[in-house]
Point group: C2
Chain length 347, copies 2
């Protein structure tokens, strides 16, 4: 018989069991597992809990302990296939450590970002994992976090001054470009992704580095920007493949863009990899199911998420300040890249 309307509280349980609230609290709290207690009392309490279907109010608990066991996870857009594994990685280690995760989609909009940041602080999450960019003018905002002892770790290189997990996009992209060059390609175009993205900037840089290292930079490295969608990849590839002497290989900013390029090749009657080689980024599940299978750079997205969460937990544990974890990438060679038409250098 709960008092009044509303949820059953610790007082209802105490009353039902004929003990004090302190006693009920003791049977529930792991912190007081060591204090001695008559088995009979414990049983009475547990019976009452069961009968009433009592669930302790974690808000009250959190208020007292200054710890909510919640973390915020800020991503640009969960609909972007890149993020779900990352989110899953964060959630898995979070939940296995008793933390719940509050998901925030920002669309890289500074207004939304600061709005969510405020909400997260007000609800006193213990920490925040931020992935993806759009944080141009936001850094100052993170100053408040310190005042509220809110941890933060970034996935990517957009928020310096905080622990972060990253990949070496420059090196990864360079390796992919070198693979193409090794195959004999001389005219390669880097395709797509927003020019403002640090990820894209790094990948474009790695591409340029590879060309330069091979002395292929007398012709200005061809880099075309767009966004991260199939649509963008399709449109760009259509344009790029139009000239009479188009590039023989396309290094795409991600797999979605690569998939768009596949469609463009099909629609212009070009065979992959015979007429044009295509390389992607991310190794999303589709990569092994398109035909030809897609050669792409595997990014350990799930692991980046779980590593980020672990870094956050380390912060909670007081284990040091800024840390930086660089995760390995790997070029997965499949069927979409081969020697250029003619079989060798043609420049």
């Amino acid at each position: 018989m709960p008092r009044s309307k509303g949820a059953v509280s610790i007082r209802d349980v105490a009353a039902a069991a004929g003990v004090s609230v302190a006693t009920v609290s003791r049977v529930l709290s792991p912190a007081t597992a060591d204090v001695p207690m008559r088995k009979e009392t414990r049983d009475k309490v547990e019976r009452a809990i069961d009968e009433l279907g009592y669930r302790p109010n974690d808000l009250a608990r959190a208020l007292l302990q200054h710890r909510t066991a919640a973390i915020g996870l800020v991503v640009p857009d969960i609909s972007n296939p890149y993020y779900p594994p990352l989110v899953r990685g964060v959630e898995d280690v979070a939940s296995s450590h008793g933390y719940r995760v509050v998901l925030c989609n920002t669309d890289r909009d500074p207004a939304k970002i600061t709005g969510y940041l405020d909400t997260l602080i007000k609800t006193r999450v213990d920490g925040i994992v931020v992935a993806g960019g759009g944080w141009a003018d936001v850094p100052e905002r993170t100053a408040v976090l310190g005042r509220y002892r809110t941890g933060l770790v970034a996935v990517g290189r957009h928020l310096t001054a905080h622990p972060s997990v990253r990949i070496d996009n420059v090196a990864a992209s360079r390796a992919a470009a070198e693979h193409l060059i090794g195959l004999g390609h001389r005219r390669i175009t880097f395709v797509g992704g927003p020019a403002t993205s640090t990820t894209v900037q790094d990948r474009a840089q790695g591409f340029r580095d590879a060309l330069k290292a091979s002395g292929l930079d007398r012709l200005a490295p061809a880099v075309r920007y767009g966004d991260f969608t199939e649509e963008s990849g399709y449109a760009l590839a259509r344009e790029i493949l139009r000239p009479s002497r188009p590039p023989t290989a396309l290094l795409c900013a991600n797999d979605r863009v690569a998939l768009g390029a596949y469609a463009a090749a099909a629609d212009t009657a070009r065979r992959i990899p015979d007429d044009v080689s295509i390389v992607g980024f991310d190794d999303t599940p589709i990569a092994r199911y398109v035909r030809p299978t897609l050669t792409t750079v595997a990014i350990p997205t799930y692991e980046m998420g779980s590593a980020a969460m672990r870094l956050l937990l380390a912060q909670f544990g007081g284990d040091g300040g800024p840390a930086l974890e660089t995760m390995p990438t790997r070029l997965v060679v499949r069927g979409s890249a081969a020697a250029p038409p003619g079989g060798g250098p043609d420049a």
Copy 2:
């Protein structure tokens, strides 16, 4: 100068502004926007808030108001491409109404499901949106929700007795099958998805209904189960296409399975749609980018998410009990389904 260690509280602000905590609360609380107050006082308070970087503690607020402005979102696995748009739909309307969302991945594991349910109740979320199955023995568990005034709406037909948003999978699948039959196919196999999924059961049923209605059910309708992955689709399709006289069309449980079937067709040198027609379910972004483009049933996933959240908001508003919203599906005819080899009935 916050008292002690820890976050700045309303008392710090009151002290800094030289007013009582009640006054500070009044400038912050929308509920008391109407009470008169000297502009000078308000300014003093606002200045103090700014200077201290004060963020009210929503836990305390929630404790008092019996309302957390949080909802739980329970999905099988965010990595499954079907869910991100749904999640986004929920999050968009949630955040635009001031609610935050706590994401829970269950892997359809009853233990995880009940675990998350408990956590969500303990943190006193105002409501829960559940999508996806695995709830076989869980329904009794939802009884507790009532005791804590926790709203619930289901996406799908697995949790009767609660408001829900659904699609008519039977009708949708039947329409897809009829499309194939209309094209002239007589030997069609329904491919994949877990036999335990109500979604799959419904789609298989619609498939059988279509065959029966066309008098094609003298040959036992061919239905093969697996799971929702490309891998499963690939494996099943390889088997299905092996016989000397294989089906001329594959109705796949979802686009991922269909993509697996694409790969199987390619690897066995069968042309789509010339040798075999393929139809999918979900209309995921890839559908329009594979070649040939994939004929598939579009499911308004995003809208289902936003509708579910709206239903939850309606519950909060006391707007009636169980409601049921059925969202429309649509067969998107693209390039993967055409007349069977020979051009017409061959049975």
